[in-house]
């Protein structure tokens, strides 16, 4: 390897005063600030950067940019780094990928085998027998997987995103894009320009002195008029209404940032991507595209070879030849326009030695530069619904037929939409920018007018201008895709033109099928280099044309994006009660319940149960859903929502209710209290609070907009505390003002308003999920901690202690109360849960009425209530055995086989009864009291159990809570 860095040249982007040391496969090497990994390595004489995926052929520089399929490298713990794009940093540890076993290993045997058997899709045709050996084959195949190495233990970094709402976004900072951005900004638009490379200017950056000067001038003009320019950033996707994703890379390999932009007008100015040519040996190191050669020379002053053949079909190729000659390279210029083509690149050990032309000429060379034509990266335009159309005369696809005006809010300019002199491209860009700004102004005016909170739009709506730009011309270009020999079409996937032709012959004769069969275009550049050649080879194989075959769908993202950038900072809202810090101080074990973090227990849930049963406990039930319902039709609303009746509920009373969906399935349950004639406070389950609010609003707004009732969610307005236990009344008597707590004055299922610990405006209802005498206090949340502490202080001598969710679950199970979503599921209709008597079929209407009527009364051809499963209390015969929840209950069926007849939905060990207790859903035939049941443990053992007469295992008559 010999160093190939030239002496300092005008226009180079490296800083020779800042050398940077790094390692390449463990070896110390160096480059300069401004180098990419690839330019630094090339300057040091490196020619082989990777081995190919399937045949392990050596690969060198092709494009020397982001899309180069041959220079993906591992940098530290980061795989698949674009070596042609990533800027060099001191201390980088760069290693080659796909080098198995090593980059230098000459995989002759594999290559030879590849020629015979490793054709595309070979794996579909073999390894079928013997079946049991397939896992082994698979492991071997997996070792051939390309790509770098990920370290799952690498430390996560901080990622962030932002939103933007520019008037105009310009994708691409070449001359046309910069001109468009400048013109749009001059016309008053807020403009965001996104440039993929590290500096704006596009291909002018590696052009002639005049081109470089013009590039700098247009970039300066854009900055001067206030265009926001993002460099090393890519517009990766466009969705409806110009919702755009822009990834900002951090040059140095730091975390990427995602910008989500809603643009009024998008200008696509991505330029053109140079297309490789397919011929024998086209993947040999030393075969390079003209852009690659010019970038190496003019940006980084790296001489890509000593003796070059430049095969050119266009001015870019001619310019490359001229540049190479200036740099002292011996150049043989072969003109494709005169009919000369390359048929082979020959050499040994990963080196190019000679180039064979179609007329048999053999030219000694260590560098072959091809300039075969261009691919228009129409991805963004495709995402906007624009189909690419092939133009044979220009030998490339265009986003629209010649001269077609662009109707909407996505415009294109620059090379993607046509050819011309630099002045013409800049002129088209400016016209596009003006059009974009004018259209954006119309849309901004409309948006301001339509948005309720926006400033009033001044004046009349400006007209949405029609497209009156002079279209760019189209330069004729020869159609050059494949030579008379076969070569590699997709370098990253190692797919040859022979693979494609054979695939077509086997029946994979459409572009989508052959793509899937061979994996062509599925690699790192996602078809940007390969698609058109794939299409052309297929067209040739099927005796059709490129236009007829058409192109594949370009899918987002335009450039790969790290998962970290897409994820950003995690935004997962967490909700906590105002008592949270007190629970933490009290040593709670937290449990996640939806968005809420709640105390599961404070150390010993069984002891918490015993304390409630013996003394008094307090539990924070703030997540309980609460809705304030007011208005003359509030009762009407309740009657519609619940299966039971509400018209006779007295002011000062509360009632339990169940809500069903329109299919009769239990949706939610809870207690609602009547605070005034037209005023109710409804409670819902904690998990159902949000859903129920929307459910109720839907009924009100769409079915009964005439009802005079207002529903306000007040879950967070109250700290809800349940005070439970035989001594709860004694405790409250010490703290409550303005409410007579006498059992005759404040009965079970009643509600009172008053003050607790000096806090006015508390709602108290006498109910209990625990089955004990209990009071649920709803305290204005800001004073929740005060009341909670007051309860603990005032009740110290009564043995008051907080209890958590687990103790509450045990006690509710002792009492046989079901939990919606645990003891019921998505098919559980109300009669299953033992609510038959609650359902009032004589009501005029309530949600789910027809289904519940048919469930209870039967319908022609259906089973009626006997077909529904039942919720029953179950006790295992062995009192110490607690069957895990979801264990199955089985019985022997008529065919003698064991069948599933139900499942345990809840189970706990009851400290009160000192035995295991359960709720279960079982088929009606096994639901009668005293029915012997067989529960299957998770270890497969059968356990005997019995169905109980009541849901409640404890105090079925409810004497304690009424006390």
């Amino acid at each position: 390897m010999s160093p190939t860095r030239l002496p300092a040249r005008p226009g180079e982007v490296i800083d020779r005063d800042r050398p940077l040391d790094f390692t390449w496969n463990g070896r110390q090497v160096s480059g300069f600030a401004g180098d990419t990994i690839v330019s630094a390595l090339a300057a040091g004489g490196c020619r082989v950067f990777s081995r190919s995926m399937k045949y392990h052929r050596p690969r060198g520089i092709l494009t020397a940019d982001f899309w180069d399929p041959n220079t993906l490298v591992q940098v530290g713990d980061e795989p698949n780094v674009r070596g042609g794009h990533r800027l060099l940093e001191a201390g980088m540890q760069v290693t080659a990928q796909n080098a198995w076993p090593s980059l230098r290993f000459d995989a002759k045997a594999l290559t030879a085998l590849g020629g015979r058997a490793l054709s595309a899709g070979f794996y579909y045709k073999t390894f079928m027998r013997p079946r049991r050996l397939w896992p082994l084959y698979e492991k071997v195949l997996a070792r051939f997987a390309p790509g770098g190495v990920i370290d799952p233990d690498s430390a996560p970094r901080r990622h962030e995103k932002r939103y933007a709402h520019p008037d105009v976004v310009v994708a691409g900072g070449g001359p046309a894009g910069l001109a468009a951005a400048t013109a749009a900004a001059r016309a008053g638009a807020r403009v965001l320009l996104v440039e993929h490379e590290h500096a704006p200017g596009g291909h002018l950056r590696w052009g002639t002195k005049r081109e470089r000067a013009l590039g700098a001038a247009v970039a300066d003009a854009a900055r001067t008029v206030g265009v926001e320019i993002l460099t090393d950033a890519t517009l990766v996707g466009r969705w409806e209404d110009n919702w755009l994703a822009i990834v900002e890379r951090d040059g140095a390999g730091g975390p990427e940032r995602l910008v989500k932009a809603r643009a009024k007008v998008l200008v696509a100015a991505p330029g053109l991507i140079e297309r490789p040519y397919v011929f024998a040996g086209n993947d040999r190191p030393g075969v390079m595209l003209s852009q690659g050669a010019r970038r190496l020379l003019n940006l980084w002053s790296v001489r890509p070879g000593d003796r070059a053949v430049v095969w050119s079909a266009n001015t870019a190729g001619d310019a490359a030849a001229a540049d190479l000659e200036v740099a002292g390279v011996a150049v043989e210029h072969v003109d494709a326009r005169a009919g000369h083509t390359v048929v082979a690149a020959e050499g040994r050990r990963g080196r190019l030695e000679r180039v064979v032309l179609s007329d048999g000429t053999r030219l000694e060379a260590d560098l072959l530069v091809t300039a075969a034509g261009w691919t228009a990266p129409t991805s963004l335009l495709n995402m906007a619904g624009v189909r690419p159309v092939y133009d044979a005369a220009a030998a490339r696809f265009f986003p629209a037929p010649p001269g077609a005006p662009e109707a909407g809010t996505v415009l294109s300019t620059g090379g993607v939409s046509g050819d011309g002199s630099l002045d013409e491209l800049v002129g088209h860009g400016e016209a596009t920018g003006r059009l974009a700004a004018a259209r954006a102004a119309t849309l901004a005016h409309r948006l301001q007018g339509a948005t309720a909170w926006a400033a009033p739009a001044s004046g009349a709506e400006p007209p949405f201008p029609t497209d009156e730009r002079t279209p760019l011309g189209r330069d004729p270009h020869p159609e050059l895709y494949r030579s008379s020999t076969d070569g590699i079409v997709d370098l990253s996937e190692d797919v040859s033109s022979r693979d494609l032709r054979h695939g077509a012959a086997e029946g994979f004769d459409s572009v989508e099928l052959v793509k899937r069969w061979t994996t062509a275009t599925m690699g790192s550049a996602q078809g940007k280099l390969e698609t058109v050649n794939t299409v052309a080879v297929l067209a040739e194989a099927t005796a059709s044309t490129v236009a007829e075959v058409g192109t594949t769908t370009w899918r987002p993202p335009y450039a790969p994006v790290t998962l970290g950038a897409l994820a950003g900072r995690m935004f997962e809202p967490v909700r906590v009660s105002v008592l949270h810090d007190l629970h933490v101080a009290a040593g709670m074990t937290p449990i996640g319940a939806g968005q809420w973090i709640r105390p599961e227990h404070y150390g010993d849930p069984q002891a918490e149960v015993r304390n409630v049963r013996a003394n008094v406990g307090i539990i924070d039930v703030s997540p309980l859903g609460k809705l304030d319902i007011r208005g003359p039709d509030a009762t009407e609303l309740l009657s519609l929502l619940y299966v039971n009746k509400w018209r006779r509920l007295a002011v000062g009373s509360v009632r339990y209710g169940v809500m069903c969906a329109e299919d009769g399935v239990i949706l939610d349950d809870g207690v609602t209290g009547r605070l005034g004639e037209d005023h109710y406070l409804m409670s819902t389950t904690s998990s159902g609070a949000g859903t129920m609010e929307v459910w109720i609003q839907n009924w009100l707004q769409t079915e009964h907009p005439d009802w005079r009732v207002r529903v306000t969610p007040v879950t967070d307005a109250f700290t809800s505390v349940n005070v439970a236990g035989p001594r709860s009344r004694t405790l409250l008597e010490r703290l409550v003002d303005g409410v007579d707590l006498d059992p005759e004055a404040f009965k079970y299922m009643q509600v009172r308003l008053g003050a607790v610990a000096g806090v006015a405006g508390c709602v108290m209802w006498r109910i209990g999920f625990t089955g004990e005498l209990s009071y649920e206090l709803h305290v204005p949340a800001g004073y929740g901690p005060h009341v909670w502490q007051a309860l603990l202080d005032a009740g110290a001598d009564l043995g008051v202690a907080p209890f958590g969710l687990e103790a509450q679950r045990i006690m509710r199970l002792e009492k046989g109360h079901f939990i919606v979503g645990q003891d019921t599921d998505a098919l559980t209709k109300a009669p299953t849960a033992g609510l038959k008597s609650l359902i009032k079929l004589d009501k005029e209407d309530f949600t789910g009425l027809p289904e519940l009527r048919w469930a209870l009364e039967g319908e022609p051809g259906a089973g009626g209530p006997e077909a529904l499963p039942r919720l029953v209390a179950v006790q295992p015969t062995d009192p110490s055995y607690v069957p895990p929840e979801a264990c199955q209950i089985v019985a022997t069926g008529p065919d003698g086989k064991e069948q599933i007849v139900g499942r345990i939905t809840s189970s706990r060990f009851s400290p009160t009864l000192e035995r295991s207790i359960c709720l279960a859903q079982v088929e009606a035939t096994h639901a009668s009291p005293e029915t012997a049941l067989t529960v299957v443990g998770t270890d497969g053992r059968r356990h005997r159990a019995v169905a109980m007469p009541h849901h409640a295992h404890f105090d079925p008559a409810g004497e304690r809570l009424r006390g």
């Binding site: 794996y123 190495v149 690498s154 994703a245 790969p560 897409l566 950003g568 967490v574 645990q822």
Partner: protein, 446 residues
């Protein structure tokens, strides 16, 4: 407990006439070496579209092709045309994440998918094409006690049906998939998982091609770029004699009209539209389901990992790519343009599970169409229009059911009776109010 056992009596393939497939060239390692660089015969051939067939299958995806294959191989019905408006396998078959498993919730669902896994296991040999079924094992993570309960529910039903599933804890999860963060640090910590060793991934395109090639070798015709424009029905109660009570007589396509006594709707994404051509209204809403793939890295993820509450599933292919899927997009649409929100959500959730993957890059995202039914279960079998059969409504899990759906639907068409395995999934269940309980697995877990 769904499926009350009423309806048609069990119908297994009673008079199956298994036909030997005659391939123009058999695939094997030996023939691969022997042929060398010479091209292989066509994998299937499509001649001119005929004017009449014994059956027309609409949809050249894995379901349509499997149905045609089993009609031909199990029942000797070979005068069959499979028509597709695009190319074979271009719909959901080529867009799914190729996960195969049978760890469903209801006994009906488990039995059904278990049969499918059995068929998949021997598919490479049956079809003489390697579908590359990789039995990686399948982990469904639970992040809440409710989810854990649902996992146990599934495991216990699975075990009862003889399917290998069990609930495992964080330590065992970490042992199986070291890249997962099983600490209690994440917002949604991993509390446990449903482990299903028989689950895995498969090369979805290969399944399509295998069925197409085998069906073609039996005489079935494959017609691509053939779009069905209308379905002819006579004697029905609706307009033009369509609808319930009618009998199907043929289909009209952009390449000509076909008469056929049996027409099978095996479309995904267009099920409602095709059914409407016969005058049948379906309980289906069409939603896009998105998927994405990363750049390849060396193997580090040995199992398929699913998190229901984080709406993500991920596996690593033989090529080293991570393939992701998510929940269906809540917006009902036929547009497959995909969304950015999907990629954001997906990446966020993947990194919650495996924080070390933040430097991996998303390479490509795409979407397919899913026909969602109210009970998350498919619609298979006869419809109120005689001769018009459906194999639709597969939601997000159609790929894994293709072999059994094709086998059983073929039996249903040829045998004239609804087989026991698909009896719970007929269209009539909606009008009769006997929905399948699979939704329980999706909806329970507060």
């Amino acid at each position: 407990m769904a499926g009350d056992g009423s309806g048609a009596s069990p119908a297994q393939p009673i008079r199956s006439r298994r036909v030997r497939t005659r391939y123009p060239a058999r695939y094997s390692a030996a023939s691969l070496l022997w042929r060398g660089k010479r091209p292989w015969p066509r994998i299937w051939d499509s001649g001119d579209l005929g004017s009449s067939y014994d059956a027309v299958v609409i949809g050249g995806g894995v379901h349509g092709l499997a149905t045609a294959y089993y009609l031909a191989s199990n029942w000797g019905i070979t005068n069959v045309a499979v028509v597709d408006k695009g190319y074979l396998g271009g719909g959901g078959s080529g867009r799914n994440t190729a996960i195969v498993r049978s760890n469903y919730l209801t006994p009906d669902g488990v039995a059904f998918y278990d049969r499918s896994v059995q068929l998949y296991e021997r598919l490479a040999v049956d079809l003489n094409l390697n579908v590359m079924f990789a039995r990686r094992g399948h982990l469904t993570l639970a992040h809440s006690d409710g989810a854990l309960r649902t996992m146990r529910w599934r495991a216990e039903v699975n075990k009862h049906q003889g399917v290998d599933s069990d609930v495992i804890g964080p330590a065992e999860i970490k042992r199986l998939v070291p890249a997962l963060d099983t600490s209690d640090a994440p917002r949604y910590p991993i509390l446990g998982a449903l482990h299903h060793p028989p689950g895995g991934i498969i090369r979805h395109d290969a399944v399509v091609w295998g069925y197409a090639r085998a069906a073609a070798a039996l005489g079935v015709e494959m017609h691509q770029n053939t779009e069905v424009l209308d379905i002819d029905v006579a004697g029905g109660g609706g307009p033009e004699g369509k609808g319930p009570g009618g009998r199907v007589t043929g289909v009209r396509t952009n390449r000509g009209d076909i008469s056929a006594p049996v027409v099978v709707n095996c479309t995904a994404g267009w099920a409602s539209l095709v059914a409407a051509m016969a005058g049948v209204r379906l309980p289906i809403s069409t939603h896009p389901l998105q998927a994405a793939v990363t750049e390849p890295v060396k193997m580090f993820l040995p199992a398929v990992v699913v998190s229901g509450s984080l709406h993500v599933y991920v596996s690593q292919t033989d090529r080293g790519e991570l393939v992701f899927g998510a929940a269906v997009d809540p917006l009902a649409t036929y547009d497959t343009g995909g969304s950015l929100a999907f990629a954001e959500e997906l990446a966020g959730h993947v990194l919650q599970l495996m924080p070390g993957l933040e430097r991996m890059r998303l390479l490509r995202q795409w979407s397919g169409l899913c026909d969602m039914t109210p009970d998350y279960s498919p619609i298979i079998g006869p419809t109120p229009v005689a001769g018009f059969h459906c194999d639709v409504g597969w939601g997000t899990y159609g790929f894994k059911a293709a072999p059994v759906a094709g086998e059983q639907l073929a039996a249903c068409i040829a045998g004239g009776q609804v087989p026991e395995l698909i009896e719970p999934f007929t269209l009539s269940r909606f009008a009769e109010g006997r929905l399948v309980g699979e939704k329980g697995a999706a909806a329970v877990g507060h």
